[in-house]
Symmetry: C2
Subunit: 159 residues, 2 copies
DNA sequence: CTAGCTGCAAAGCGTTTGCACGATG
DNA sequence: CATCGTGCAAACGCTTTGCAGCTAG
């Protein structure tokens, strides 16, 4: 939990209290190395503290979101995914057929943000994008199977 | 309902049945000229047919999504918004402070899609993007108020 | 005629909220 | 010691599902 020092400081300085629960949640997200659902965070924290409650997780995530320490993304799974906001920004390409997620470097989007700012005066929060589409492999399967009529049964419709 | 001809044809040809309910839902979405929630679609349809059910709306939206006739977007309001997929694509800039929504021309994103295809072989579905951020006006208020500590109470956290 | 759509009702899910207790600073 | 965070439980809102009857093709 030692590398959470700086974050703890940030929290304190913005008038937030530092509780073991928050530190555990923080730690879970930071060390995950990817996006986690609230349920996954719960599970992770439960390993060291069994009495953690969902509401505490959500409330803490609310605080962290407000402070831009974590990002909240709708990845089309019916639940939000939370991720530590790294200095190394990146985005996600989500295949709507195989659900595979690959990374997209932030460089692809910096230009876009600049263009939008120039033309609309709108400062886009391009911290963490989820871009849906069809991965290379699934494009091939779609072609061979003759169309996009129905790829596969899924929990969630592709937009 | 006459201008729904082509859509009706499309539906029929993919083995879907054409029912009055579906036509009404179709019509509601097409003539809305913007994104609608499932509830709004319901309301609209109810004006001509009071017995329409939520489940019918969702089931029909499922069909239309699958056929890429409507897009489903999470605009950060806790409910999906559905919009007719026009030939004239556009995207949305959503201010996380004042909730104002402005349009963004598709030209801003076509380059991005091409880049992603080139470098990752991933065919991005950039039908309809929701980009969150801070509008020009709210940037000013944020500056004058000294920071981003807390902008305003909202139903939903800005990511 | 029969596959598939409808309305109804109820469940399901992730998330939020009210409350009294407990911990933090 | 005052405030804020916690756990618990219950509520919430949107969406989904099981089912029997009806309807389009």
């Amino acid at each position: 939990m030692s590398c959470e020092r700086a974050t703890a400081e940030t929290l304190k300085q913005s008038g937030q209290r530092l509780t073991p629960q928050r530190l555990m949640i923080l730690s879970a997200i930071r060390h995950a190395g990817g996006h986690m659902s609230a349920a996954q965070i719960m599970e992770q924290v439960k390993e060291s503290y069994a009495y953690i409650d969902v509401s505490t997780v959500y409330r803490t995530l609310g605080v962290l979101k407000r402070m831009h320490l974590v990002s909240e993304t709708d990845m089309g799974l019916g639940e939000y995914r939370y991720e530590w906001v790294e200095r190394m920004r990146h985005h996600h390409l989500i295949c709507r057929d195989c659900d595979n997620v690959s990374l997209l470097d932030d460089s692809f989007l910096t230009g876009l943000a600049a263009d939008i700012l120039d033309d609309h005066g709108f400062r886009a929060d391009i911290d963490h994008f989820a871009i849906f589409g069809l991965c290379e492999e699934c494009q091939r399967s779609a072609d061979t199977s003759g169309g996009k009529a129905n790829g596969k049964a899924k929990g969630k419709e592709g937009a």
